[in-house]
Assembly symmetry: C2
Homo-oligomer: 367 residues x 2
Amino acid sequence: MEEASATCEVRVQLGDRDYPIRIGSGLLSRPESYDAVPRGGVAVVVTNTSVAPLYASSVARAVSARHVRVLRVELPDGEEHKNWLTLNTIFDALLTNGCDRKTVLYALGGGVVGDMTGFAAACYMRGVPFVQVPTTLLAQVDSSVGGKTAINHPLGKNMIGAFYQPQLVVADLDVLDTLPERELSAGLAEVIKYGPIADAAFLAWIEDNLDALLARDKAALAHAVKRSCEIKAWVVGQDERESGLRAILNFGHTFGHAIEAGLGYGAWLHGEAVGCGMVMASELSAQLGLMPASFVDRMHRVIERAKLPVQGPATLSGDRYLELMRVDKKAEDGEIRFVVIESLGQAGMRPASDELVARVIEAHSAR
Amino acid sequence: MEEASATCEVRVQLGDRDYPIRIGSGLLSRPESYDAVPRGGVAVVVTNTSVAPLYASSVARAVSARHVRVLRVELPDGEEHKNWLTLNTIFDALLTNGCDRKTVLYALGGGVVGDMTGFAAACYMRGVPFVQVPTTLLAQVDSSVGGKTAINHPLGKNMIGAFYQPQLVVADLDVLDTLPERELSAGLAEVIKYGPIADAAFLAWIEDNLDALLARDKAALAHAVKRSCEIKAWVVGQDERESGLRAILNFGHTFGHAIEAGLGYGAWLHGEAVGCGMVMASELSAQLGLMPASFVDRMHRVIERAKLPVQGPATLSGDRYLELMRVDKKAEDGEIRFVVIESLGQAGMRPASDELVARVIEAHSAR
């Protein structure tokens, strides 16, 4: 029971929508991990075809005492399925099983499962409770925390969604043991992100511990997840609906979203696109005179060491990026605003000319 | 300018989501009616093919000074189109026109347009502002107020939606002049509803003024809309998300929804189904010993005088009603709870046996 004692909790402070993030080994299969969840009603474990055989039974068993019945819904795996059609399979299952307003949805999977299950919970009968049980590093450190839920539209990523907070996040570090290497790296992209935007010391810690993280050292992962969640919870607690500060969490994402949309969702993992996007956003920060060139090198190095792409795809032109960025949610009145680093651990928002953005993309693309 | 002086305002008090309902003649085409709406951004007037030729240009003109551009989206007319496919035409229009987070949606139409536009506003980029400009009596007294938005699912009405408040409701009484007679009656069903559930004196007023209302007397309509909105605003202000009190607004709706779903959406108007449903719910209140038989007669009479159906359709059996009621949102753990009248002007929730419910339906159905 050594793992149990190592469990820690981070709170997302949002008044009447306050909730805990629990982080530790072996949490997923322990009934007491879910004691913050409303009792009664039907439980629906929503997962995907890759995660289901690994963990669905454990979660179903752990929550069964709290609920009158436990159902399962399996979604196809991958960002390309994060659309209305897949979302509707959740609604179909809920309605054909007569699920009422006391139903609790458990999102067991990565960011795609979490985003879709959260959005389904936000909309079903105008809102039922849900729980995040993230099974990827990326979901544990980013997407499962903060209540952003959405599906994609053919014309843009995450365009249809809701701000809707879970009752609880259960981040079980043991699930990271089975994570494919590519997904571990994708998650590290979001971990790395928190350094330059909010905590210079954390960036240095990541650089010192990157080999341990890649080797899945449990203590290193525990610290990375905890510190990431603390920073995200702090930001979300101040700006739940992204009217200002929260936008800094999108460092590298404006470039990254353009890569994802331009290649077709699913070609690159979200974290891979963000990794490359952070190199470009760091370059932009340097070109705007905010940061020295050495900062770009430093970001390039840590992202590359994390086994993430540091060059944009050869097939995407600068013009195509700009076109895609203009339909991104972050654009306002057609003006694209970028998250830039103003000093190490401090981010801000800046516009940039099309010429400069194209030059930055060119400098960091495979040609 | 006599109409302008007759304008009145009811406030929906919801803290930071507080908003006014403006009621009066000629409001729709006056720019000052919209002064509570955020400036800038693109305006999108969402309407349907029946309403567009009557009022879309007036609204577009009235709001044009507040916005950089005014777009229009026309939806097909009718409850049978209140689904994902139609909703998606709004998203398509918003995205192909590069609409950002400052976009304001104007819902110009009846309950279907309001419900779908409100839900589109709730979901687009996780939430953009919207305004209700209801063009039916039913929408003015009920659906445009209180922030319930939704679309239908083949397995149930309003199953997918959100609680999402508008910035403002503009109820122009002049639009009621062009309303088809059947729709006027449908609206009166919801007006009548407010009497037995919340205000005995208002029920007596409706009985005294029903001929004037049917003749579209402007002063009578103004009072009916104002008092209805006051009662609805009071209820919603206390229980926005329907955890208790708000359910009383569904008097007659559990029976009514079953009629609508059983016949296929669009066969009967919502207000028609609610009219008949209130006769049944009044009978149930009497059968449960809460109200005298004379109350059922009284409700039967006023509903019939309003030119609403007082008998359920011949083709729907009691068993079919019960089956449909069990998938309705109001059911919990498979138990159906009915809004009943406990004393005139006071409603409550009660379960009832299947046998009793079937008997009530039988007594008020065409066979």
